[in-house]
Symmetry: C2
Subunit: 656 residues, 2 copies
C-alpha cells in the first residue's frame, strides 16, 4: 500500500509555476498553431455588450454631433448681423424675417446661421423681435460637427472591457454591433466520495460541497463562464473519463480536490496519463498541492480541497489564465495588483515558513490615522478567515515573517471606507458583541464593529498600546472582588471611560443531563474528566484559575487544562462534540448548543474606551446602539444576561 503513494510534492515557486503554464501555452501556439485564448469572438448588439471584451477596435461610423448644433437654449443668428452690437448700439433682429430663430440646446442651426446667443442675453421687444447688446463670433455657442466624435475615429481599442460609458460612445458613433471575445468556458469538477449537496443529511465524514459555488462565483467575477459539474467519486477510471470529456468540451478545467499526493488523490496521475503534468506542488501556503497540466491542449488546474487553499490557488492560476484569454495579459500578478493596498503596522510578530509564499488573512484597524494589522486564524480549512478578513498579507518565499510594529503592505479585501469606519474592539469574547456589531452596521453603516478575541488582558494591553478603539473586559480582582477598574489603574496610562455592556452568568458547560455528574470545581481533578480551557489572558480562564486557587487545586492535576479555545462558542462546541467533558463559559453559549449549565458566578462585562475615541462619531453611534431598545431586546432573547446597568458609565478614569 505505501508504495502506491507519492508522498512528496514539488515546491516550485509561484513565478516558476506560472511561467511553466504560460510557456506551455506558448509552445502550443507555436507547434500546434492553437492559440489558446485568441481564437473565439462573436458579434453582439452594443446594448448587450456591457462587460464584454472587444476583440477588435471600434471606429465611429458617424460624427457626433452629425450636424452643427446649438450648445445653448437661445437664438440662432448669422454672426455677421451682430458685428455692430454693443451696450450703446443695440441691434434688433426679427424672428419673422428669419434674421433670428429660437433654438433649444441640441437643435440644428437653421440655414444661414452660424452662432447662438444665449437666452439670458436677449431682450425681447415683442414675440417676434429681439434686441442684443453684444456681438457673437462665428460658431459661438455652437457644437460643431464631430465635436465629440469624428466619423472614422477610434472609440475603444481591442482587449477593452466595455463600460457603460463606452457603450454610450459607441452608440453615439453610429455603431450598433461590436465584435467581442467569447469568454472562456470553465468547467469546475468537484471530486470526492465525502461530498454532499447543500441541504442533504450529514453523517460524520460528509462535507458540504460548497467549494464549487465559491469558485464559480469568482470565475464569474473575473469574466469567465463557470460550469459546475456533477461531482465524481474518488475513482481513477471515472475521473479519467470525466477529465477527458471535459477537456474536449471546455476551455479550462478545474478539478477540486484530489490534487495532493494522498491515497485517493488521482488528479496528478490522470492528468499525466491523459496529457502532461507541468507542475505538481507550488511553494504557496495555503494552496501547495496544485496540479497544473494540459490535456487535449486544454489547461487542467487541480486545486486542493480546503476552501482557503482552493481560493488562493484559484487566484494564483485561474485568474491569470482568464486575464490572458480576455485581455492578452501575459504578465503575472506581481505586476498587476488590482487590489488597493494600505501601508500598515503589525500588531504582533508573525512567523512564516521560509519555504513558501504565504497568504495571511488579516484584520485591519485604523487607529489614530495609522493602520494596524492583526492576523486571523491561518488554517486552510477556515473559510471564515476569508469572510472576516479585511486584507490579505503576503509573506514572501524565503522570508521568515514580520516583526511586531514592522510596516507591511496589505491588499484590501473590503472597501477602504469600511475599514476606515470600523471600530476596533479587542478583548474578551461575548455573544452580545456580535449583536451589537450587527445593529450598529445595520443602522449606522458604514460604521461597524471589528471584534478581535484576545481575551480581557489582551484588550487591556491593546488599549494601553493604542491599538484599539475599545476593549471588552471582565476581570475580577481577587484581592478586592472588584471588576475591571483595578486592572485599568494598573496598566492603562491614558484617560478612559468605562461603560457597562452587560452582566452575565458564567459556569460549567456539560452535556445534556450532565453524564459525568459534575457539581463543582473539585470534579475537574477526576481521572475520568477532561476539560477544555480558554486561552491565556482570557477573563474566563482567570475566573477558573480563581476558583482553582480557592480550592488549592493545581492545574497539572486537571486533564485538558492546556487545551485551549478562544471563545465561548468553541468551548461549547468542544463539549458538545465530545472533545471534552466540561468547559467554562457563558450561559448564552451553553444554551446555543443545548448543553447543560452549572452556574458559577455573575460577572460584569464592561467596554473600556480611551477618552480620545470617546467623542468620535463612530463611538457615539456605538454607545447609542448599546443603549437602544433594539439591542436590549435582542439580548433579552439570549439567556444569562442582566441588562440593568447596560450603557451606564461605570467610571471615568484619569490616571495621575
Amino acid at each position: 500500500m505505501k508504495e502506491d503513494r507519492k508522498v512528496y510534492l514539488e515546491n516550485v515557486s509561484l513565478e516558476e509555476a506560472r511561467e511553466k503554464l504560460f510557456n506551455a501555452l506558448g509552445t502550443l501556439s507555436e507547434k500546434e498553431n492553437i492559440k489558446w485564448g485568441e481564437v473565439h469572438s462573436e458579434k453582439v448588439f452594443v446594448d448587450n455588450a456591457k462587460n464584454r471584451y472587444t476583440s477588435e477596435p471600434v471606429f465611429a461610423r458617424v460624427s457626433s454631433p452629425h450636424y452643427h448644433a446649438s450648445a445653448m437654449d437661445g437664438v440662432a443668428v448669422d454672426s455677421k448681423d451682430t458685428r455692430e452690437a454693443s451696450l450703446r448700439n443695440s441691434v434688433k433682429l426679427s424672428l419673422s424675417k428669419n434674421e433670428a430663430y429660437l433654438v433649444d440646446t441640441g437643435e440644428p442651426l437653421p440655414e444661414g446661421t452660424d452662432a447662438v446667443i444665449m437666452i439670458e442675453e436677449i431682450e425681447w421687444l415683442s414675440e417676434k423681435e429681439i434686441e442684443i447688446i453684444r456681438s457673437v463670433s462665428p460658431w459661438e455657442n455652437v457644437r460643431n460637427i464631430g465635436e465629440d466624435l469624428v466619423a472614422t475615429e477610434m472609440i475603444v481599442p481591442s482587449n477593452h472591457k466595455l463600460r457603460p460609458v463606452d457603450i454610450g460612445a459607441i452608440l453615439a458613433g453610429g455603431i450598433t454591433e461590436v465584435k467581442v471575445k467569447l469568454p472562456p468556458q470553465v468547467a469546475i469538477l468537484p471530486t470526492g466520495n465525502e461530498l454532499r449537496e447543500p441541504g442533504e443529511h450529514l453523517r460524520p465524514g460528509d462535507i458540504i460541497e460548497y467549494n464549487s459555488r465559491m469558485l464559480a462565483g469568482y470565475i464569474s467575477e473575473w469574466d469567465g463562464v463557470p460550469y459546475r459539474q456533477d461531482k465524481v467519486e474518488d475513482d481513477y477510471e471515472k475521473l479519467k473519463e470525466k477529465i477527458k470529456n471535459l477537456s474536449g468540451a471546455f476551455d479550462l478545467v478545474i478539478v477540486n480536490a484530489g490534487s495532493s499526493a494522498g491515497r485517493e488523490d488521482y488528479t496528478y496521475k490522470v492528468v499525466g496519463d491523459l496529457g502532461e503534468v507541468l507542475v505538481h506542488g507550488v511553494a504557496i501556503k495555503p494552496g501547495k498541492p496544485v496540479v497544473i497540466g494540459l490535456v487535449n491542449n486544454t489547461p487542467i488546474i487541480g486545486i486542493p480541497g480546503y476552501p482557503v487553499s482552493a481560493l488562493i490557488a484559484l487566484e494564483c492560476f485561474v485568474k491569470p489564465l482568464l486575464d490572458y484569454w480576455l485581455m492578452g495579459l501575459k504578465k503575472i500578478k506581481e505586476d498587476n495588483k488590482e487590489r488597493p493596498t494600505v501601508k500598515a503596522k503589525m500588531s504582533k510578530k508573525l512567523v512564516s515558513s521560509l519555504n513558501a509564499l504565504e497568504f495571511v488573512r488579516v484584520k485591519i484597524g485604523r487607529i489614530d490615522e495609522e493602520y494596524v494589522v492583526s492576523p486571523l486564524k491561518r488554517g486552510a480549512g477556515i473559510v471564515m478567515s476569508m469572510v472576516e478578513a479585511d486584507g490579505l498579507l503576503e509573506v514572501p518565499h524565503m522570508k521568515e515573517g514580520f516583526l511586531k510594529d514592522e510596516e507591511v503592505n496589505v491588499q484590501l479585501l473590503k472597501p477602504k471606507y469600511l475599514v476606515d469606519n470600523a471600530l476596533v474592539c479587542i478583548g474578551s469574547h461575548d455573544i452580545t458583541l456580535d449583536l451589537l456589531g450587527e445593529i450598529l452596521h445595520k443602522n449606522h453603516y458604514p460604521y461597524s464593529l471589528s471584534s478581535n478575541n484576545a481575551g480581557s488582558m489582551g484588550g487591556i494591553m491593546a488599549i494601553s498600546k493604542g491599538e484599539a478603539h475599545l476593549a471588552g473586559v471582565h476581570l475580577l480582582d481577587p484581592a478586592t472582588g472588584e471588576y475591571n477598574l483595578p486592572v485599568i489603574y494598573k496598566y492603562i496610562k491614558d484617560e478612559v471611560v468605562v461603560v457597562n455592556l452587560v452582566h452575565r452568568d458564567q459556569g460549567f458547560m456539560v452535556n445534556k443531563n450532565n453524564p459525568k455528574g459534575i457539581k463543582d470545581v473539585n470534579d475537574l481533578t477526576r481521572e475520568d474528566v477532561r476539560i477544555i480551557n480558554r486561552q491565556r489572558g482570557a477573563g474566563t480562564r482567570m475566573l477558573l484559575d480563581y476558583f482553582l486557587e480557592e480550592q488549592n487545586i493545581l492545574p497539572e492535576h486537571i486533564k485538558g487544562y492546556d487545551k485551549e479555545e478562544v471563545n465561548h462558542l468553541s468551548v461549547a462546541a468542544a463539549v458538545s462534540g465530545g472533545a471534552a467533558d466540561v468547559g467554562i463559559g457563558i450561559r448564552a453559549a451553553c444554551e446555543a448548543l443545548e448543553l447543560d449549565f452549572i452556574f458559577l458566578a455573575k460577572e460584569r462585562y464592561d467596554l473600556i474606551i480611551p477618552k480620545k475615541h470617546y467623542r468620535t462619531k463612530g463611538v457615539k453611534k456605538l454607545l447609542e446602539t448599546v443603549r437602544s431598545e433594539e439591542f436590549k431586546k435582542s439580548v433579552v432573547k439570549l439567556s444569562g444576561y442582566d441588562l440593568s446597568k447596560t450603557g451606564e458609565i461605570i467610571a471615568e478614569i484619569k490616571p495621575d
Copy 2:
C-alpha cells in the same frame, strides 16, 4: 412666449441638495410610515444570492466541521498509546488490531482515537503494522468540531453584499436559503422629440438615444435594476401621465432630459404639479440643471440631456439613493469615496467657476514615479472625455481652480496598473498613433499609449519639462529646411533619441470636387473662402504659416485663421460639415472623411524619446510595435504615408 420660460435655476450646493432629498425621505418615514428602501426583502437559495444584500444576519445552523476530522493524510491513533514513543524507543501499532487507522484529510476520527500521525512520520513494517518514533498530543492534527464555524455563530451581518466566499461560508454553516433585499427597481425615462433609436436614419437635429443605455449600465453596476422605458415626446400632458404611472410602479424614476428651464423642459413643472419639487438646479458642473422631487412618495430625479452631465448627476444623486436602499447608507459621497485616488501634479493651470463644484475629466501619466494630470475637453456633450479619462478631478465649489504644478487628488476611473503602464505621448496628432496604440495595447497589455494632442511645440515643451515619455513632432525649420532636430537642440537639455514614425503628405482639405476651386495658398485670402486652422504650437499650423510667409500673406487677411481645431480629423470634419471651405492637414484624415486633397508637402514625423525612458520595457515594446509588420500593414491601408524610414533612429542627441 418669454413669460412662459423660467430662465433661472437655483444653485443649491451638492451637500444641501442631497440633504434635502434624504430629509424628505426621512420625513416620509416619520409622517407616512413609508420607509423608502427598508421594506422589501425575499428569500432566495444561497446558490443564487451572489451580489445580493442581506436583509438580516445569517447564523450557522450546523458546525463546520460537524465532526472531529483528520487534518492530514495519516494514521489515526489514541494519543495515549504513543506516549512512550521516541527515537530510541519506537512504538509499533497494528492496523488489524484497531490500534491505528489509515485516514485521509477530512475523514472522521474512528471511535477511540484522538490524534493523527502524519503519513510522512510513519515507518511501515508491513501492510498492517506501523512504527512511530514520536508521541502525539491529544487532538494533534485534528480539526475539532466547529473549528471553522460553530452552530449559532453569525456568519454575515445584515446590509452585507454577498461575495462568493460568503456564499461558501453560509453553505458551510448548513444554510440553504437567505433573506435578501429586493433591489430598487429604477425606471429610466428618455424624453425628447429629437431622440432616435440606435441604427435609425438620422436627420439634422436627431440625437441617438444612448443615454438611457449608459444610465442603465451604471444602475446595474450599483446593484439597482434598471428598466428603460419607451421615450416620450416633449409634451406636458404625456410626460405627466407617464411620470404619474412610473412613480406608482417603480421605486425610483429617472427622467432624462428636460430638467432645465428651457421652452420644452417640462420635468420641473410636471413634478411640481404631481408632487413636490425639492431642488431645481445644483451647483455642480457639468450637471447643474437637475430636478429632484417626490411624486407618489417616490423619488423622481430629472437629469440633463448632455451625456456627461447625465452621468455626473446620476452619480451625485442616484448612487446615494441606491446605497441608502441597499446598505442603509445615509452618508454622502464625501465620506464614501470608493474610488482609489492618486496624488498628482497639474501639468497646467486649470480655471474653474467659483459657483460650482466642477468634475473635470483628466488624463493621468506616471512619469518618473510622479503622476501628472492633464485636463481633457470640458464640454458636457463630449462623452469621449469620459471614455478617455483616466481620472476625475473635483474642483470644489468656491475654488477658482488649480495652479500649474499644484498637487491634487484625482479619483481613478481606470485600474491603477493601466495608468501606471501607459506611455504618455504628448505632441502632434497623427492617425497612425491610434493604430500604434491599438497594436501595443493588443499585443503588450497592460502597456498602452496615452496620446495628448498638444501640437508639436507642446510635445517639445513636455519633453523639456519631463512631462512625457515621448513626443510626436513634425517641425520644419524654415532657415535650414531640416525637420525636428534644430528645435530639439534649441529647447531640450537632456539626452534624447529621435526615431522616425512615418513620412506623411500634408495639404489642403476641400470638399469633393473642390467647389471653391482652391489651388494654392493665395486662394485663402479670397472673400468667399473661410478656413479652419489648427491650434497654436501645432506643426501643421506652423507649416501653413511657413507657406503664408513665403507668399507674404498676413493672417488677418484670412477668414477663419483664428478658428482652431486640435487634430486632423476635426479639421476634416469642419470642412466636411461646411463650417469651413478649406483646412490644412494630412491626407489620411482627408480621405477618411472623403474630402479632396491638394498636396502641399511631404514631411517627417518623428518620435522624440528621452534617453532615460528609451531603455524601459514599455518604450521597448512600443518601438518593437513601430517596427512590426502588423503596424506597417495597418498604416499602408491608409493614404499618404511613406514607411521607408519607419522605426529608424534618426539621431541621438546629447546636448553639451
